[in-house]
């Protein structure tokens, strides 16, 4: 196809502002999908995505409109996948920036708009949901126009739900988005912007051809990772897979690689041909590293093999998921798993529970730390238990948090950020009513319950997004929890020294309430090294007898004791102390943590 007739674009929007609905209407309008075939949100293939209203895996669909070939590249809508979003955007020349007519711009709108601007995309602003009774299309249009420096007249007003204005959107894509500008005759280069795993065909790469031509049966290689394979099939999605004989400069499509492991193919890497290949890779490749870590343990230890198999299967489709075996004296066998962020963690957890029917205990998440050991070497630490007792210095990851709130909540938001070691960066009024705040925050302060706190202190009005800005030095300490003098590995935590006392205190109090009384006093301590910072005692029981036992009671009482014996076998032994698994659950489970 002649590049001048190709348009590659994405839709970017805050969650629930109607991105997927607009995508559906576009497919319908261009007859890519008949009304009958139309399932809502065709592009989101996983149930979970449809349910949560978010898109996890980006995909690309080719449609025809007025003699042009339009490639709609879907993007994930959340910060955890910023890198994936940026790669998807790099595959485009333009983006539809969709804003809810009732909500206006939100934190993700900003984050994504900035990403689009960084990638030098032509932005087509769209105000959606103009059919809603509470819609304020003019207000939303003014906000979004200001954001990208456009005239409000150029903002399209549509209802993706009713279809009103959707044809104008496609016309605007053709008019405003520039055609691709690659070199059709140069050595072949394609950007890998996504990949997925197909049970029958192996790893499928989604690519944007920048220069040259790709053909089936050619030997290909990735330039950063150096993975080599033969293209078994190439084609495009419409939205079903359509094989073709070639993908040329400017086109978007897929390559069936025959690879067995998604980790052999990295998003952002450049694909080229083995012979006569390109010399320079495309810019922007990054090795994405997990930033948030948590222990995943089956609640029934018998389920460990199932959990391992399930993680293996998830990993096939999720190159960003990291896991390694972890053994906890309190929780048994499990996995220390790394995630791009909190949402990624939640998605993995839900998929494990839902698709694999596993009952999981997910420990409170922690971030990745960098620690300089006594010997001067830096090392990355993924779990508090790995933190050395003594170290020279430590660093923790920081993010730039972007928060948009109605102006009356600026105070509470600032207060929250101050409590969380935030450093004020910037504040601006998006409109007379709405304020955009940015803060630099340690990621560790966000992973626990920041989002819940933010929502509750702003009555749900705040929108929030964040972006990694790198590691910075932190005054960090490891707080250990000792039950009857024995350190409980799963309960150790790494915190800023300033918060060590409060967190230790809270943990110890919580644990005192959860550990049943034993036949002896059980001290529970929080300690930094050998210094105890908080202490509670579970007092010994003074009596535990069956009041009476005569001829008629014997069977019943015996069964009672036998049942208690069975219950005892389900306890986790910490030294001489028996702790019910539920106690750890209550203290560690992030679900609980979020609710408190």
């Amino acid at each position: 196809m002649d590049q001048s007739r190709i348009r590659n674009f994405s839709i970017i929007a805050h969650i629930d502002h109607g991105k997927s609905t607009l995508a559906d209407r576009i497919l319908e309008l261009t007859n890519a999908v008949s009304k009958r075939e139309m399932r809502e949100q065709v592009l989101d293939s996983m149930d979970l995505e449809r349910e949560r209203g978010i898109t996890i895996k980006a995909q690309a669909v080719r449609v025809s409109w007025k003699g042009h070939e339009l490639n709609l590249i879907d993007t994930p809508g959340h910060v955890d996948f910023t890198y994936e979003v940026s790669r998807s955007l790099q595959a485009c020349e333009g983006a539809l920036l969709v804003v809810d007519a009732a909500q206006g711009t939100e934190a993700q709108t900003l984050a994504n708009a900035y990403l689009a601007i960084e990638n030098e995309l032509e932005i087509v602003p769209v105000v959606n949901k103009i059919d809603l009774p509470q819609a304020d299309p003019d207000g939303a249009a003014r906000e979004v126009a200001e954001l990208i420096g456009e005239s409000p007249d150029r903002v399209l007003r549509i209802s993706a739900k009713t279809g009103e204005g959707v044809a104008d959107v496609l016309d605007a894509v053709i008019e405003r988005v520039p055609p691709p500008a690659g070199e059709p005759a140069a050595p072949a280069r394609a950007l890998i912007f996504d990949s997925s795993y197909d049970q029958y065909r192996g790893v499928v790469a989604f690519v944007r051809v920048v220069d040259g031509v790709f053909r089936p049966r050619e030997r290909l290689r990735t330039m950063a990772l150096g993975t080599r394979f033969e293209a078994q099939e190439i084609g495009f999605m419409s939205p079903a897979m359509r094989p073709v004989d070639e993908l040329t400069a400017g086109e978007v499509g897929y390559v069936i690689t025959g690879l067995k492991d998604v980790s052999e193919l990295r998003v952002g890497d450049t694909l080229t041909t083995e012979s006569n290949g390109a010399v320079e890779p495309l810019p922007g490749y990054k090795d994405v590293k997990p930033m948030v870590f948590a222990g995943l343990f089956p609640t029934e230890s018998d389920d460990y093999p199932e959990l391992r198999d399930a993680l293996e299967k998830l990993k096939l489709n999720d190159a960003a998921l990291f896991y390694e075996p972890e053994t906890s004296q309190a929780l048994g066998f499990g996995f220390r798993s790394g995630f791009l962020g909190l949402l990624h963690m939640e998605i993995v957890r839900e998929r494990l529970e839902r698709e694999f029917d596993l009952d999981l205990l997910v420990t409170a998440p922690n971030v990745a730390y960098r620690v300089k050991e006594r010997n001067g070497e830096w090392r990355e630490v993924h779990s508090p238990a790995d933190m050395p007792d003594e170290f020279e210095e430590a660093e923790e990851p920081y993010v730039k948090a972007s928060i948009i709130v109605p102006k009356e909540y600026v105070g509470p938001v600032m207060e929250l950020n101050n409590e969380r070691r935030g450093r004020f960066d910037h504040m601006e009024y998006l409109s007379p009513e709405r304020v955009h705040l940015t803060y630099e925050l340690p990621l560790a302060e966000i992973v626990l319950d920041y989002y819940d706190q933010l929502k509750s202190r702003t009555r749900g009005y705040a929108s929030f997004d964040y972006d990694y800005i790198g590691f910075r030095p932190g005054t960090l300490v490891r707080v250990d929890v000792l039950v009857a003098g024995e350190s409980v590995d799963a309960l150790s935590l790494i915190v800023h020294r300033e918060f060590a006392y409060d967190r230790g205190r809270a943990l110890v109090e919580r644990l005192r309430k959860e550990i049943p009384r034993q036949m002896f006093d059980v001290p529970i301590q929080a300690a930094i090294g050998s210094r105890v910072i908080a202490r509670e005692t579970v007092k010994a029981r003074r009596k535990d007898v069956l009041a009476k036992c005569y001829g008629g009671d014997i069977t019943r009482k015996r069964k009672l004791l036998e049942n208690q014996k069975k219950g005892k076998k389900r306890m986790k032994q910490v030294g001489a102390v028996e702790v019910p698994q539920e106690a750890f659950l209550a203290v560690l489970n992030i679900g609980q943590e979020g609710r408190k």
Binding site: R542, V545, A547, K548, G552, R558
Partner: protein, 370 residues
């Protein structure tokens, strides 16, 4: 095989069902007392082959055995085989001089009085019918009739009972100097009316009442009583001429001996089989009226189960348990651990709980079970 030497007879009738009670009881229906006793005597006849010639103990429990219509009660007592110890449970308000005399002339030699508490407010909470003075009145009437082996049942941990209330109850009980005292913590059993009404309050008081058991034991042992079973105390030594005043019938349960139970809801354990009679009065009397045994629920006790029961019951007693009798049922690591904590004493070939171990006897047993 030598015959069973211990006989239990259940007399379910009560004037009123107390809120905390979960025994098999029947209120009213005084016209049925006679036919019930007929049924009991038929069951005795059917099972008499199991009994030994000379019984060691008979225990009439309830219900309120002394609420049974006197003619029927006397007919029953007169028909029972002779035994060394014959105990009847009685509620204080039922003990008239006539009743005391009736019991005495029918070879009853031990009476167990369900006093529960001397505090009238707490008696109301328990829904007991006795009034002030009823307990001591009943006690002295029994003494007058010649009873020299009387037990008082006391309950502690009653909703609203302060530590001072408990001490008062113990004072009152000790003033009477009964041969035997049974002191139970109130059990709020799930599903009873009582738990429904007082469960929340009991939970709230649990911590405050935690040391009541210790108070009871301290007080009674201080007054010279032998704490011979978790909840049972008896006078001992020279003051009672060396008589063994332990409840011999109950001792048979705790030592794992066989017993035959008659009446509705009654349990029997004989030669590795335990059965329970139907708790339904009409079904029981109808079956026996036609000369058949009542419907029974049967449980087979294998060697292992019997040994576990032996451990569970034996550890309730103050006398050391021969290790050989229970060793296969023991978790030896737990034994080691509990010895270390000073809860269990292993001495020669025996096993015994320390005083603190006895306060935690239930939990200790759970730990010790293999």
């Amino acid at each position: 095989m030598s015959g069973v030497a211990h006989l239990y007879v259940h007399l379910p009738f009560c004037a009123h069902r107390c809120g905390y009670c979960d025994f098999v009881t029947v209120t009213g229906r005084s016209e049925e007392h006679g036919s019930y006793v007929d049924a009991l005597l038929r069951e005795l006849e059917l099972e008499s082959g199991l009994l030994s010639e000379q019984l060691e103990t008979i225990f009439l429990g309830g219900g309120t055995p002394t609420f049974t219509e006197p003619g029927a009660l006397e007919r029953l007592l007169a028909a029972l085989p002779p035994a060394d110890e014959v105990t009847v449970e009685a509620n204080p308000e039922t003990v008239t001089p006539e009743l005391a005399e009736l019991l005495s002339r029918n070879r009853v030699n031990r009476v167990s009085l369900g006093a529960q508490t001397f505090n009238t407010t707490l008696l109301d909470v328990l829904e007991r019918r006795a009034g002030p003075g009823d307990v001591s009145g009943a006690f002295y009437r029994l003494r007058d009739a010649g009873f020299d082996n009387i037990n008082l049942d006391l309950i502690y941990g009653i909703p609203g009972q302060s530590a001072a209330d408990l001490e008062r109850d113990l004072d009152e009980a000790l003033k009477l100097a009964p041969e035997h005292l049974s002191c139970y913590e109130l059990e709020a059993k799930p599903g009873t009316r009582f738990t429904h009404t007082h469960g929340v309050e009991l939970e709230r008081q649990a911590e405050a009442m935690e040391d009541y058991f210790e108070r009871v034991v301290d007080r009674l042992t201080g007054a010279g009583y032998r704490w011979y079973e978790t909840a049972n105390f008896c006078r001992s030594g020279s003051s009672v001429d060396g008589r063994d005043l332990r409840a011999q019938h109950n001792l048979a349960y705790w030592e794992g001996r066989d017993y035959l139970g008659l009446g509705i809801g009654a349990f029997s354990t004989i030669a590795g089989r335990r059965w329970r009679n139907t708790p339904r009065l009409p079904a029981y009397t109808a079956a026996l009226a036609s000369g058949e045994a009542p419907a029974r629920e049967l449980e087979r006790l294998d060697e292992e189960t019997r040994m576990r029961e032996h451990l569970m019951l034996g550890l309730r007693l103050d006398e050391p348990l021969p290790l050989a009798e229970v060793e296969p049922a023991l978790d030896l690591d737990a034994l080691e651990r509990l010895s270390g904590l000073g809860l269990v004493r292993r001495d020669g070939g025996t096993l015994a709980l320390s005083p603190r171990g006895r306060f935690l006897g239930g939990r200790v047993t759970v730990e010790l079970l293999a």
